[in-house]
């Protein structure tokens, strides 16, 4: 999993565990006025127009709302082909566009439970990102 020296794909998207057994979490923001939760973090709540947000850590488990297997390589991507991505709904409300990992493409199913992990995109590169993988039964 995550080792020393790895760098996050972007600042402020997720926490990197420092203790054994600690889980990574996505970092969102929650409106203190209406309770709406955003990922990635927002400054203004576009539902109630208030500028009163607090940082919040999101659940590291969600449900797979939909998925696709990508067969054509996008320009900025240098990972393995083909690969799976999905849209994950979290209990707090946000849906997260994410790479999927640790899965047999054939066994992906809508609404299955998935959990957050941190992984590299490319083996040779230090950069880590968030991904979701099916929860082992």
């Amino acid at each position: 999993m995550v080792e020393q020296g790895m760098k996050p794909i972007a600042e402020g998207l997720f926490t990197i565990p420092s203790l054994p057994g600690e889980q990574p979490r996505l970092i969102g923001s929650k409106c203190r006025n209406c309770g709406r939760v955003y990922f990635p973090k927002e400054v203004v709540c576009n539902a109630c127009f208030q500028e009163d947000m607090e940082e919040t850590l999101l659940s590291n488990r969600g449900k797979l709302y939909s998925f696709t297997i990508i067969h054509q390589k996008p320009m900025a991507y240098s990972g393995p082909m083909p690969y799976a991505m999905g849209l994950v709904s979290l209990p707090e409300g946000p849906t997260i566009m994410s790479l999927l990992t640790g899965c047999d493409f054939e066994k992906l199913e809508l609404d299955m439970d998935v959990e957050l992990v941190l992984e590299k995109i490319v083996e040779e590169d230090e950069t880590v990102t968030y991904k979701f993988r099916p929860v082992q039964a």
């Binding site: 539902a47 709302y65 849209l87 790479l99």
Partner: protein, 382 residues
Amino acid sequence: MREVVILGIGMHKAGEFPDKTNLELGRAATFGALRDAGMEFKDLQSAYFSKNKADPTASIGEMMLGRMGLTGMPVVNLENDSCSGSSAFWLAYNAVAFGRYDISLAVGVEKLVLPPSMSPPPPPATEYEAALRAMGIADISTRAALAMRRRMHDYGETVGQFARVSVKNHKNAAHYPYAQRQKEVTLDEVLNSLPICDPLTLLQCCPPLSEGCAAAVLCSKDVAKRYQRGKNITVASAVLRTASESTSGVGLTAAGLSKSTAKEAYNIAGIGIDDIDLIELCDPFTVNEVIHYEDLGLCDQGEGGRIAGDGRTDIGGERPVNTDGGLLARGHPSGCTGLYQIAELVLQLRGQAGPRQVSGAKVGLAHLEGSGPVATVIILKR
């Protein structure tokens, strides 16, 4: 508000034209629209110019139109993703409807500045956007695939129903000389074309590269009498909206924005879906046409796939959709797609659509939705 009519339309064919300049494309459509209106360039009082989002040229509209004639009229350049051309139309419409000018031009050009292999992608707007690109999950084609799979799960739709939209739209475009793709395709060809992102295949996507130009001349009803050219087409409503509620996630399968935009356009025009004879709608991918059937009121939520398969949106069906081939086959030069839609509705309402003619067409609707999100709905009647 004053009644506004469309006096003229002009188009250049959609496609790839490496040997043509911006100016050549723009001139073809602008002069075409003026000829159609029975007008001269100097009659124009204001112009709204929509363009390709990748074109960095400053004030390209002033430059292009200035080389057709220096009249001193105001010119505004705009970019509004897929709604660029329809936004130019919306501005031209407002300018005349609210009495600021009598005659306005809406013109859109899409010209790729560099070949795509040499053209760097636009810089990401945020660090998060950059991260999505590096993860390989930023392409809009993936959103279409995610929506397809979710709809197949929720509504029992089939890949064949989505593919049927592509077969229909290619068939329509085969009869339209300005379309980019003028070759019919079979269901098997659509299903077996290159896999993009499962279950989306290449022939369920609009052409990746499209250039073109389309224009419309709008005029107040009174002033239009000076240029009488037979049947005038009236703008019954032109609405542009952005999101008013968050649709995170759900937005994949039910575009609330298009629904609210259509509702406002129907209200202003004082009509409903039953009064509409034909529709041009936003189909960058087959699934979008199915979703927008529901947004525009052709059917209930979850029934879009079924009506795509049963022929009622074919030419000759109950309410034909994308009679010129839509984004899928006419092409999607985003700087002017909305004006191609207007041109097709005008041809249909005038009874000039040849083999694509919807018999007795009196009212037509044009719809687009783009990143932002932004949506436009324009209703025309004769």
